[in-house]
Symmetry: C2
Subunit: 424 residues, 2 copies
């Protein structure tokens, strides 16, 4: 297997101003093409440090992928470092300049001198075309090794990676590894580990990693073997083992989001969904509408931050709000039923809780969230305790609401977190 | 200035399954304490590679900060690598075990053998207490250099970084650098650069970086000098220069989000806000309610994905929808005015557009978004063209809606993107 290193250039990455999502994207693509990423390294906008990183990476890997520092401004010095590193010189490329002019024309702009300079490329590299910006990429080949340079702007990097570079890497990678990620939600890591106890029997041929997040625990299974077919067979065995023991918690594979799964289930049913949100404040609807085509099954959402809006938009009785408080089983059920009846939707979800940091009472702590569900047949609400971080509570509550819908549409039992904890 | 390297351990980072937000957090904290981060390096769960990374980092830096691979499961090998690296051995720590037992007690759980093993710490390190998990951190000091090891779980890492480690670093850092980030929105990078032309005169003493994102362009100014006071003076001069030329586009400094700014403006006014969202699908309300205490000024949101809901919840006339279509100036204005009147709020925002990929017509391309505003005095809507990426369009539209409110509350002129483009 060929080894690769990803080098990201930019002070903004080192001082924490920008999160390095480029390295994840490149790493993911390399892995899927059978290239092993050994290192990712980030360095600042300093030529000598960049050169040191180039030398080390070139020595210890077959493939080096560099992003960042290719823009037209003074702080962009990667091209200069590349020229020194490969001891080469620049030449004007008509083809690259044509791409730059075409790109600018789409923005109703003309090329200036800075753009003309961007069309200067090292004489012994293959320029990589940039359809989303003005800086070309570069591909050097020496002694069977490959050195790629891309801009740091994510859309420009992605265009080059998914196009030209993926083509080169696909021809280099030899894939004898098979991997899958099982997306679970509604069960904590420790209880999930209990459920699938015994999976260790496969660890000579496969590995398993637990990746917890507020959306749930992802299980990454990787099998490596003499051949791809053998790896895939092992993977299928491990998968089956886990599905048999924890299948109801697995909503998807390979990073597919829950809102896509529920969207597809609704589409299959021809069912309409409406949501009434208090503590999630719009996040639930936001996730639902992130899915292209969601207008085919999502009717409306009501974000009812005030008691008045709960009564006006959802018909929650004022007396109920006074008697039980807005964060209660009764109000969660009334919200779900109210939006379902008002909208004419087939299914409705509701959230009401105390996201914090303020708003707690003696009996209702920060993190208490009621999730409500309503259909023509049934209306119910379940309480959850989601911790004391406002944004994490919103995220977990929206995910639990979607999972409530998934479980209903698949005929799975209602999840009661307290019962789940008692099983352990 | 002392130099630092951040080492992240974990296959999941290399293959792109998890984005390395830990490195940004640590980098940001180091910078603010006057420590220069020179490198961040990511390696997989392989002991020999981890050891190589330790050796190189220890050789070229004064401070090394390691995260990840400290959990109780088989794939966590960082502690083992640390023991080899420092040629030391483990000893049971009653104090660490007490912390672990306390932590588990809060989850109603008892310590098991795996937890007991986690209380084994290298004999010559200072254990770093973990209040959010079971794995202790470690602090080694040798020859004036520092080596810190933390778990990879972000909340556990943050607890250690913000507490014990920040204390150590604060005593080591000598800060003669001053930096600020100006958060702009509503103006593209190239036009912003035109506006502040002349800023180059300060580049001997300060540097300027453009950081574009769908939320706007951030301008990071950094001044470094003999003394902190001198650096701060330079910074203030550059800041003033930029504020004088582009002040109306600067909504905040240092990563403060726009929804916090508009929230504070509403709170000062005692004004109530309501929103009616079509194409943003809940994202606008989600952002508004991310701010703690937003229930003091946010009354309600309506997510009106169907024509029926636009009519029922916002009183948008059916005839208007038929005549102009849901994506139109008329409907955007009617939505904003409708939710304002229905809710009794003082200010209202609306969004209606074509987020794509479907839904475009000959006259209405994907990316067309109308942003509406309504108050007792005025109601208007402005059109924007936000590109062909669904999530980016939602993000940009929600940000533009918030900026419309900010501009109104500050008495700034309405932003017309076409006029802005013509100025260039």
């Amino acid at each position: 297997m060929m080894n690769a290193e990803i080098i990201s250039v930019g002070d903004e990455l080192l001082i924490g101003q920008v999160v390095n999502t480029n390295a994840s994207f490149i790493g993911g693509l390399c892995s899927s093409l059978g290239i092993r990423v050994q290192y990712t390294t980030t360095v600042g906008d300093c030529k000598s440090v960049i050169l040191d990183a180039f030398r080390l990476a070139w020595e210890r890997n077959d493939i080096v992928l560099v992003t960042g520092g290719l823009g037209p401004t003074h702080d962009d010095i990667t091209r200069d470092a590349v020229i020194t590193f490969f001891n080469t010189s620049l030449v004007f490329s008509e083809e690259v300049f044509g791409d730059i002019k075409d790109f600018l024309a789409r923005l109703n702009r003309d090329a200036d001198n800075a753009n003309r300079d961007q069309a200067m490329v090292p004489v012994d590299c293959t320029p990589i075309r940039n359809m989303d910006g003005t800086a070309p990429g570069m591909h050097f080949q020496r002694d069977g090794k490959h050195f790629f340079v891309m801009p740091g702007v994510p859309s420009e990097m992605k265009g080059m990676m998914s196009g030209y570079i993926a083509g080169v890497l696909a021809s280099l990678g030899e894939n004898t590894r098979s991997t899958v990620t099982l997306m679970t939600t509604g069960i904590p890591e420790s209880l999930l580990a209990n459920r699938i106890r015994g999976v260790e029997q496969f660890f000579s041929a496969a590995s398993l990693a637990y990746l917890p997040s507020p959306l749930g625990v992802r299980l990454r299974i990787t099998a490596e073997a003499e051949s791809l077919l053998q790896a895939e067979t092992t993977l299928a065995t491990v998968k089956e083992f886990i599905y048999n023991r924890a299948g109801e918690y697995i909503y998807a594979e390979n990073e597919r989001p829950l809102e896509e799964v529920t969207g597809e289930l609704l589409r299959q049913r021809g069912g309409w969904l409406a949501v009434a949100e208090s503590c999630t404040g719009g996040l639930l609807a936001d996730k639902i509408t992130n899915v292209p085509g969601s207008s085919d099954y999502f009717e409306r959402g009501a974000i009812v931050y005030s008691n008045r809006s709960k009564t006006e938009l959802l018909d929650v009785p004022e007396g109920m709000l006074a008697q039980y408080g807005a964060v209660s089983r009764e109000v969660a059920m009334a919200m779900a039923e109210g939006i379902r009846l008002k909208s004419g939707a087939d299914f409705a979800l509701s959230t009401t809780g105390i996201a914090g940091p303020g708003g707690a009472t003696d009996t209702k702590p920060v993190g208490l969230v009621w999730i409500g569900f309503s259909s023509a047949e049934t209306t119910y609400a379940v309480d959850h305790y989601l911790g004391n971080d406002r944004l994490r509570t919103k995220t977990r509550a929206a995910q639990l609401a979607l999972d409530t819908l998934r479980r209903h549409l698949l005929g799975l039992p209602i999840l009661f977190p307290t019962e789940l904890r008692m099983q352990s």
